[in-house]
């Protein structure tokens, strides 16, 4: 027998993929009439490119999924992204590494990743030790980290072009670009972490009911700190993947990334209050957003329309989620 809860659950978990199919259909058909280029939207090459372009947001979104399932949020990812990019590009020209030749690349990568992880851990430590809400802590560090970015080089870009690095970033393996591989591997790793390990189960437990989790003996503080370190690491990884190719970072880069990332995660069905969500859903959310950006571009709309549509879709999803949510009906209606 089909229970009312089951239908809504099935609708919800499948919704993001249904949405993606809808987007594909719409842009393919609309593209026939409105597109300026002759190329079809559903071109295989185009879809591969889409996966590659999803990588910077997608990699961070995986970390945000854990943090949000935990019942927290991280607004500082865009700033961490920028700091990691600066560490990556600047450290390659440090005199101490001059003798390393191309071996400077892994060193710079490690430094950037370590930097991001540390900043994330700092957020987590503050949340844990002070008990201040993650929203406030990361709102503050979003300002603070961005300040550090600007203090480093003012309004000027930091650039360092290393051709070995560019070659690596532009390389393709089995038909997929380096960035796409990183996105897929991170998705798989976080999926494994969330579904197959104790850490993942604890994350859901804490987000669902923190009191109960504490009573069950889960050490909530260190757990949250690990998750903030993971998202810091992933924000840095995203920067490492992206800036290996572009080779130049502006101090404003990564601004509003938190917005895109949170949008992707919420579209993917993760609850803002924590306790529910899935990595695969987030992956769908990331693809859906990138499809929207690309598709609107394909039919000749500009960025302003993308912003408008994106915001309205986010609200619409929230509305649908509320309507489908059985629990919501039990709440007091005024």
């Amino acid at each position: 027998m089909l229970q009312p809860g089951k239908l809504s659950k099935a609708l919800k978990s499948g919704a993001i993929w249904g949405f993606i199919v809808l987007e594909l259909l719409f842009f393919s058909i609309a593209g026939e009439f409105m597109s300026l280029s002759d190329k079809a939207f559903m071109d295989f090459e185009n879809m591969l490119l889409l996966l590659k372009q999803s990588a910077p947001i997608g990699i961070i979104a995986m970390g945000m999924t854990i943090v949000m399932i935990n019942g927290n949020i991280d607004l500082s990812v865009g700033a961490i992204f920028a700091i990691a990019a600066i560490i990556l590009l600047d450290s390659m020209s440090w005199p101490i590494f001059a003798g390393l030749g191309d071996w400077v690349i892994p060193v710079a990568w490690l430094l950037a990743l370590a930097g991001g992880t540390l900043l994330g851990a700092l957020n987590g430590l503050i949340v844990w030790k002070t008990g201040v809400d993650a929203f406030i802590v990361t709102l503050g560090s979003m300002l603070g980290f961005r300040g550090i970015v600007f203090m480093f080089n003012g309004e000027n870009p930091t650039s360092q072009l290393n051709w070995t690095l560019v070659d690596f970033a532009e390389a393709e393996f089995l038909g997929l670009a380096t960035a796409s591989w990183f996105l897929l591997i991170v998705t798989l790793a976080i999926w494994f972490l969330m579904t197959k390990t104790v850490h993942g189960r604890n994350a859901y437990a804490i987000g669902d009911n923190r009191e109960a989790a504490v009573n069950a003996g889960i050490r909530v503080g260190p757990h949250m700190m690990i998750n903030f370190s993971i998202i810091g690491f992933l924000a840095a990884l995203s920067a490492v993947v992206f800036y290996s190719e572009s080779g130049s970072v502006n101090p404003n880069d990564g601004q509003l990334y938190e917005l895109w990332v949170i949008t992707a995660v919420v579209l993917g069905g993760t609850k803002i209050t924590g306790g529910a969500g899935s990595v695969i859903g987030t992956f769908g959310g990331v693809i859906a957003i990138q499809l929207l950006r690309k598709g609107l571009g394909h039919i000749g709309a500009d960025t302003s329309t993308v912003n408008l549509v994106m915001g309205l879709i986010l609200i619409a999803v929230l509305f649908l989620d509320r309507q489908l949510n059985i629990k919501g009906k039990e709440e007091l209606k005024i």
Binding site: I126, W128, K129, T130, G131, V132, D133, F135, I136, V137, L139, G140, S141, M142, L143, G144, F145, R146, G147, I148, F150, M151, G154, V214, I218, R219, V220, G221, M224, Q255, L259, I262, T263, V266, I272, T273, D302, T303, S304, T305, V306, N307, L308, V309, M310, G311, L312, I313, L314, I315, L318, F319, R322, E331, L332, I334
Partner: protein, 324 residues
């Protein structure tokens, strides 16, 4: 006895901590630089804080009612662009009410979504941040907006004028703060805002229309944003369409610094004003002692976390959190 005194000190610190911090801060910077407390400097700080301050007044209502508003920055860009555009098309006298109507319309839309449909305010206003930004870009065609005749318009009075020797933006800020402060502290509506934010269910059972109260808070916020947009437009008489970008976070920082809890139910308008002034004077003070402009962001970061931390530490009676 000793513990009692300690507790008393703690509670005084918790209640007036923000004022004490403000006083200490002002003394230190006055000692560091004599110009800091001069009339000219104070006026210039308050005047440049007025736009942020006016927006923070409205957001305080929203936060006390237990919600968030992240859309005020892009809404302010919208108001600024719209009023500048309409100024040349239908004249300032009609442009101002038209702009207010449009901004209030946006506020009503958010209020409807959060109040009546009870959607999560963080996500709704995050979506609206993006959507209104798109709307502004579409409206302006991506172009900067400028008033054609900058010399001959009386429109500049809101941002550049002075009355009784005091800059008009300051007067607007002070008058609005006093008026809204009275509304929040002395009227039944104000008490409803606290009740809804403190415990929405209890408020509902005691006959308060929760949805309508939240809706009104967003209208107030939108009205404040429109006022801020008016000051901004009048001050510069021309604007980029991203003028308010990022302001939502500074506004929120000021409100939090003022001690309003993001959980709702607490905070006062007076303390928000103090929060705004602290941010303004920090920025100014750091520049006066010769530090880089961007250092203020790092200092703001530290101050926000310290302020909130000490506040909740005093409430729970322990410095470190109880999280295992």
């Amino acid at each position: 006895m000793a513990t009692l005194t300690k507790q008393q000190i703690g509670s005084v610190l918790a209640k007036q901590g923000i004022l004490i911090a403000f006083a200490v801060f002002m003394i230190v910077f006055t000692l560091a630089n004599a110009k800091f407390l001069s009339m000219d400097n104070v006026f210039s700080v308050v005047r440049s804080s007025a736009i942020l301050g006016v927006m923070a007044l409205g957001v305080t209502f929203v936060v006390i009612s237990g919600n968030l508003d992240l859309s005020v920055g892009s809404m302010m860009s919208f108001s600024t662009i719209v009023v500048l555009d309409l100024h040349d098309k239908i004249g300032p006298l009609l442009a101002i009410p038209a702009m207010f109507a449009m901004t209030l319309g946006l506020g009503a839309f958010i209020g409807f979504l959060v109040g009546y449909l009870r959607l999560n305010s963080l996500i709704v206003t995050l979506g609206m941040l993006s959507a209104i930004h798109g709307l502004t870009l579409t409206y302006s065609g991506g172009q900067n907006m400028d008033i054609a005749d900058k010399e001959g318009t009386w429109f500049s009075v809101f941002g550049q004028g002075t009355a009784l020797g005091i800059p008009v933006p300051i007067l607007i800020f002070v008058a609005l703060a006093a008026f809204l402060g009275l509304v929040l502290a002395k009227t039944p509506f104000g008490r409803k805002v606290y009740a809804v934010g403190g415990n929405g269910t209890a408020a509902t059972f005691s006959g308060i229309r929760r949805a309508r109260t939240v809706f009104t808070c967003y209208l107030i916020s939108a009205g404040c944003v429109a006022t801020a947009g008016l000051i901004q437009a009048s001050r510069s008489l021309g604007s980029q369409n991203t003028v308010g970008q990022g302001l939502e976070l500074e506004v929120l920082a000021a409100v939090i610094l003022g001690g309003a809890s993001l959980l709702g139910g607490s905070g006062t308008l007076f303390k928000t004003v103090i929060g705004v002034l602290i941010l303004g004077f920090i920025q100014n003070g750091l520049l006066l002692v010769g530090l880089q402009f961007y250092v203020q962001f790092v200092v703001t970061w530290v101050i926000i976390i310290l302020a909130v931390w000490l506040d909740i530490a005093a409430k729970r009676g322990k410095l470190w959190s109880q999280i295992a």
